[in-house]
Symmetry: C2
Subunit: 127 residues, 2 copies
DNA sequence: TTAGGTGCAAACAATTTGCCGTGTT
DNA sequence: AACACGGCAAATTGTTTGCACCTAA
């Protein structure tokens, strides 16, 4: 019971992700696969991406909703995976990182966002 | 022409954001202000947050849509603000940062995400 | 007076979910 | 045959926008 079966769609979706260095959205993957799998549905793409992400086979990058901050000077954040709270961190913003990124990539780097994840002190205590 | 006026709502919204160390969503701000401003609308909250963010008075934190990555080992990313592409960066993932964040915050830090922003080489060339 | 702002509701966009037929085991 | 899976469409959720009215300047 509760076992997972083979699924052609899941394999397709995983292969598509594995075969690209882009970081596609669900929609992009859907568009890529649609031509050769005309009856693939977007819902299935979402379902399998979530499934794969939940079991750790792939990674998700996202803030589910926009958040706002009156402090406009760049500073690192901590995001609690249990309660969703976002905290400011009193760590220095390291401008040298931007320089390193520029050198490593050749892109025009104007800044960065550093977000830590884990369980916040409040949620830790509840256990 | 094109001048900006005083607006009680904008002031309220900005004050609400200024007065918290949380990083609220538009919805949260709306809920906070609603009781004392019963005819405030969520659309106005969004409109003013966007306005304030565009002029740099406040900061936005978000990935507009989820993106997926078959590479599950943590690594830094570069996000082009012109075309929206996300690239991998060949910079080392610095585990020492997590330790620093733990010490600075007291939260349980399990990892971090480092995202650089700017204009990618491709978009730079188009100009 | 006049252009910008607001409220409201409709539109849009991203994602999830229920239902039911299909395919894997 | 059982039950996970996929297709489809409806439902949710987050965000934007059009329009008629309101308000600061």
């Amino acid at each position: 019971m509760n076992g997972k079966r083979y699924s052609r769609q899941r394999e397709l979706i995983y292969a598509a992700l594995k075969g690209t260095d882009q970081h596609p959205t669900a929609e992009m993957i859907y568009q890529w696969l649609k031509p050769e799998n005309p009856n693939l549905s977007l819902g299935t793409v979402y379902r399998n991406l979530n499934l794969l992400a939940d079991e750790g086979a792939i990674a998700r990058m996202a803030f589910p909703v926009e958040r706002y901050d009156a402090e406009t000077r760049p500073h690192p954040h901590f995001c609690c995976q249990a309660c969703g709270s976002v905290y400011d961190l009193s760590l220095p913003y390291d401008k040298a990182l931007d320089e390193q990124a520029l050198l490593a990539s050749g892109h025009d780097v104007t800044g960065h966002e550093l977000i830590f994840y884990g369980t916040c002190a409040k949620c830790k205590d509840v256990h």
